[in-house]
Symmetry: C2
Subunit: 375 residues, 2 copies
Amino acid sequence: MLNDDLIGVAGGRWKLQTPALVVDLDALERNIARMADHAKRHGIALRPHAKTHKSVEIARRQIAAGAVGICCAKLGEAESLAGGGIDSILITSPVVSEGGIARLMALNARMAELIAVCDSAEIAARLDTAAGEAGKVLKIFVDIDPGLGRTGIRPDKAPALVAQIAGAAHLEFAGLQCYAGQVQHMESPNERRAASLSALQELGALRDGLAANGLAPKAVSGGGTGTFDIDPDAHVLSELQVGSYVFMDRQYNDVWQKPGGRPPFETALYVQTTVISANRSGLVTTDAGLKAFATDDGVPVIAQGAPRGAQYFFFGDEQGGVLYSEETRKLRQGDVLACVVPHCDPTVNLYDRYHIVQGDTLVELWPVDARGRSA
Amino acid sequence: MLNDDLIGVAGGRWKLQTPALVVDLDALERNIARMADHAKRHGIALRPHAKTHKSVEIARRQIAAGAVGICCAKLGEAESLAGGGIDSILITSPVVSEGGIARLMALNARMAELIAVCDSAEIAARLDTAAGEAGKVLKIFVDIDPGLGRTGIRPDKAPALVAQIAGAAHLEFAGLQCYAGQVQHMESPNERRAASLSALQELGALRDGLAANGLAPKAVSGGGTGTFDIDPDAHVLSELQVGSYVFMDRQYNDVWQKPGGRPPFETALYVQTTVISANRSGLVTTDAGLKAFATDDGVPVIAQGAPRGAQYFFFGDEQGGVLYSEETRKLRQGDVLACVVPHCDPTVNLYDRYHIVQGDTLVELWPVDARGRSA
């Protein structure tokens, strides 16, 4: 496998064909262990979100470290990771189309535990009918809208939907899901804490109201990397859906670094890129452009290979530009840079595989199993 | 093949699992024919850029319509399309790494015509050595920088590099490449015309100077969709590297529509997306987010399925939001929208296949063969 992709060079080190997605294995392992310890310490379950990594191997390592299962964003992602042997999956987006519901039932039939989310009475009724026809009960988390308006039902309307699902012949009311996406990247620690706890307070009131009516949710699932150390204090979530902590990225580093702190997890993900043109003064061009990084939030940060202060910019679909000072060193064609990615999830989704490294040594290639499985 | 991906519904029509990349076959064919006619009329060769579509099937149709071959942006893209039988390929980015040069020679050995670009004396020397060792002459276009500073050598420095390559034992000086990326999306027709012709004038002077010294380039390759109807007037380019015209996108539609004109090519590419949550007034959520569209230039334009005036916004990695007026119709879970993509090339690179449709009928699935082949 190695020889397809890598060219051996003198000294036992490897050069990658770039742009290449690179994972620092030791940092990844420490991140996985750190989050597992955190959850254990707070008596909260961990159901990491695999939409970040889309990798059977990383999901396995998260489960080996104590996770109860994983989350997937989409049905196709769940099909892919279930195919790799992951046997407890929550699909965090509503599945509503006729074709999607048919695939959901087929997946449920072959899994130990599949949980779907639902935010409407009409879809709940259709899921119940389909589960009945398929002959296997489907577990449902009712999806609660924390005020973001993306998916979910507002807490005041939720009890009726919970009652409908709890009373459905072929559905099991297994819990609540509530993901406050809007608070994860707030850079003021106080605002982030206040916003997250406020969303959870509302969720806690719903949970208590349901319990008083004999409909206590067995699980309450939510949270993210930005609030991993805030949410346990509310004593509402029973499981954390954290995703990005395995890799980190510039966005999440900013959450801690901008107010002057240190990120609680290490940057484990990089894109390596090679200088392909160097005919200008203080400017070189690399082989990683718009197809090599997600571009929704800023530019990559050069972490290695260029003089301090060098700035990356997008230079079209196929190339990146690097502006730098030539005072200490002139960059040349063939020089390799490593970049911290602006946003990890959609960047990973561009690549077919991870190059897993320890120091300068490439130790494994892992497929991005569910790459592109957005449907 | 169809049954894996599609769910048949009543009436013989098909519903796609979304988000899905959809191509209107008739519009695609008309675009291919229109550009081929244009080139023929102007006596200029066509070497369409496959970085847009990354598809063997579309490359074949372009060649069948008269193209002399295709362009690829990267070595991996060229390997993929050559593997599909495309036998004349220009790789438009410099290949400079040791591993890349080895792969380039292996590809050259098995192709009828492979052309690489070069913008430095050092790389030219290494390519010459490698081609000598591989035992097959490699064709080279000297890459000229039109002032953009991305790749290429400035015209004043080019003659020495041309002479070096023309004199190299294992290289063939096959021509010049010059891509003025900076002018393609200029929305003022006069500015676009002036900027493009000015870059070409400089290139023409270089060509004439080389010819006067017995180094006339056999080909001069460049241009793009934004200047396809300007560049022939300069009588400098001998072949056009147009890419986006096959699909079009919001960016290129703007080039003609913003000054009040009509795009010369039809929109042939769409992303279909399904409404998955509809609990708010005037707002629904669809299943296509940051992983379903390139995000480097604005948002998708809803072309079908929503009331007039509906606006799409990115709502996270996995979802899109649609703001609309409920006056004429309320959108519901399961409703399907078709969107014009903001930028076609990097959007295509997110998908594993094209759903080829004629009207409401799905007629074929084509793989995006070179998806992710950025290295």
